[in-house]
């Protein structure tokens, strides 16, 4: 299921402002790649270009290529809806659909794609919630509103919803920043399990988290306020945190920056 991503010469704009410039990297299948860097360096923007969510914002556009295995996501005949179906996303703040029950939230993607068969949906709910480590906590109240869960449970519900449509890649935009340490640990364990099936890309501000969960780490930085963000280096996580090849990376991870 998992696919690799190859990005080359990618720049993204908000109107006339260039947010990220000329990024090229490869993301390996069945691995966790973490993006770290200061606020405003374009990590989240770059993440959103990987499933064409960037262009949802009015005035936003992208230049360059993103290859999912061999297909260019930005080719003119590619349907962004199909792209998002194979590259799922989990957001910074848990955002379950407030009108829907836990069950309906998990199957939202499938139902809206036209799957109606009850037995299929039941299976998906159980499998996805088990995959998101939430099944034990909610299996006896699947018809209760999703918004009634705790923050950490809501975020796992959103992960269940994202994996229910069986994407090849899962993008996570600071998925733990709104959660307490225990919920964070639950999600981190989950990421470790999910990487056997999915290619996972995670943006995080927490460097210990990047060190704990990821196989490879990319460091982004920007030259100054108003300058576009750039990829500084991408390497094995262990190497980034022990012996990075660029001075700026070492400064950032050891707290000497600015």
């Amino acid at each position: 299921m998992a696919k690799r991503i190859d990005v080359s010469g990618l720049s993204a704009y908000y109107g006339t402002t260039k947010a990220i410039e000329d990024i090229s990297m490869s993301i390996e299948p069945r691995s966790v790649t973490a993006f770290i860097g200061p606020s405003g360096c374009g990590k989240s923007t770059f993440l959103r270009t990987l499933n064409r969510m960037h262009e949802v914002i009015p005035g936003a556009r992208v230049e360059g290529k993103v290859l999912l295995d061999d297909e260019n996501l930005y080719a003119s005949n590619v349907d962004p809806v199909a792209v998002r179906r194979s590259i799922g996303m989990v957001f910074q703040r848990p955002n379950p659909f407030p009108t829907m029950s836990i069950y309906d939230n998990v199957v939202a993607g499938l139902r809206l794609a036209g799957v109606k068969k009850k037995s299929v949906l039941d299976d998906v709910v159980e499998r996805s919630l088990k995959g998101a480590n939430l099944w034990k906590e909610v299996h006896n109240r699947l018809n209760k509103p999703g918004a009634g869960l705790s923050g950490g449970q809501q975020q796992r519900l959103c992960i269940a919803r994202a994996i229910a449509v069986e994407p090849q890649v899962l993008l996570m935009d600071e998925p733990c920043s709104a959660l307490d340490p225990i919920s964070t640990l639950a999600i981190e364990d989950l990421i470790g399990e999910l990487k056997s099936q999915f290619t996972i890309v995670i943006v995080t501000h927490n460097m210990q988290q990047a060190a704990r969960v990821s196989d490879r780490t990319a460091f982004f930085n920007l030259a100054g306020v108003g300058q576009p963000g750039k990829l500084i280096e991408l390497d094995d996580t262990q190497r980034i945190f022990s012996n990075p090849s660029v001075q700026a990376t070492e400064d950032y991870i050891s707290g000497r920056f600015g």
Binding site: A82, R84, P98, A108, K144
Partner: protein, 358 residues
């Protein structure tokens, strides 16, 4: 070793003002209010003022001034100002509620004796206008049909316009639409009536009918629906749209299955309020529906009656006690209908609103 030195209680420097101060007991405001009303009525009676409204205003003034002075004496200026502001809010609230309550109470008093099965199920056909008897069935039927048709036209148009403005509209076209919706909000109902009269009846040659009135009512209703729906759609967090897109759901389906259901409570309330607003419209209905004494259950052909027009006719054309009684009865039914719509709207809003908690 550090030694803890304890300063004796009374030797500590006094920082700032003391925290305790004289406070009026909790029953002071109601007591002042009761006293002001007593004194106000006394002054009013002594001065021979006829209107009870004047008594009430004197009492309100006494309440404001008295409350301030008493509080200023006991609690100081700052507290007195606080109490004064609270009193102003109360007085304003009562001033606003008095006309509403008295209108409702008076209508019920006058109308309740008139409204009965016979009144609701008979028209004015064959009834001598200046005599007793007759009913509002034809007017009620006309109002329901006209308002129903107007809603069928205005609700989808307004809803789709709002969806366009919030979800798709960019640039000049959206600005122009917003501008014209604003302009339409301010169109007087008689102008809407004249417009339909000149377009539908005169230029296109259709005759008086309930539907003709519905067209004018729809013109009045559309901007209200657009505005309220627009506000409700804007309240739907963008994160929900993004969550849906990220699942590979197309935009139109996201709007239909995620955005609209999330906002449906508020949208329904908006539509119901717009319905309530046009139900009481008289001018365009008089011009386009023409009025009738008999039951016409076909809104597309021939004159019909409607409740506001019926009230007006009974009051100004019949113009005697029997007419007044029927007018009050019809007014009571009209108010009850609008109030019922509001209650339904609130019920739907509560029932469909996004649920949190367990």
């Amino acid at each position: 070793m550090t030694t803890m030195t304890t300063v004796p209680e009374d030797a500590r420097p006094q920082v700032g003002p003391r925290l305790t101060a004289n406070r009026l007991p909790r029953w002071t405001p109601p007591a002042v209010a009761a006293g002001s009303i007593a004194v106000g009525c006394g002054i009013g009676a002594a001065a021979g003022l006829q209107s009870h409204l004047q008594w009430g205003l004197i009492s309100a003034l006494l309440f404001l001034v008295g409350g301030y002075l008493i509080s200023a004496q006991v609690e100081g200026r700052r507290q007195a100002k606080d109490r004064f502001a609270t009193s102003v809010v109360w007085v304003a609230f009562i001033l606003a509620v008095v006309p509403l309550v008295s209108l409702t109470v008076y209508t019920v008093q006058q109308g309740i004796g008139v409204v009965n099965g016979n009144f609701l199920s008979h028209s004015m056909k064959g009834v001598i206008q200046s005599g007793p008897g007759g009913g509002i069935y034809h007017a009620l039927l006309g109002t329901l049909q006209q308002v129903g048709l107007a809603t069928l036209i205005a609700a989808p148009l307004g809803l789709l316009t709002a969806v366009y403005l919030v979800e798709y509209g960019r640039g000049r076209l959206a600005k122009a639409v917003t501008f014209f919706v604003d302009v339409m909000t301010g169109v007087p109902s008689i102008v809407a009536g004249l417009f339909i009269l000149s377009l539908w009846n005169l230029a296109l040659g259709f005759s008086y009918s309930g539907f003709s009135g519905s067209l004018a009512l729809a013109i009045l209703m559309i901007p209200v629906v657009v505005r309220s729906t627009e506000e409700m759609l804007k309240l739907v967090p963008n994160e929900l749209r993004e969550a849906s897109y990220a699942l590979g759901v197309p935009k139109w389906k996201t709007i239909l299955r995620i955005v609209l259901p999330t906002a449906i409570g508020g949208i329904t309330t908006g539509v119901m309020l717009a319905v309530a607003r046009i139900t009481g419209e008289t001018a365009p209905v008089m011009m386009l529906v023409f009025g009738a004494d008999y039951i016409n259950s076909n809104p597309f052909d021939g004159p019909q009656q409607s409740l506001p027009m019926y009230i007006w006719q009974q009051y100004s054309v019949v113009n005697n006690d029997f007419g007044y009684a029927r007018a009050w009865g019809a007014a009571l039914v009209l108010i009850a209908f609008v109030m019922g719509l509001n209650l339904i709207a609130r019920g739907i809003a509560r029932w469909r609103s996004p649920k949190g908690g367990h």
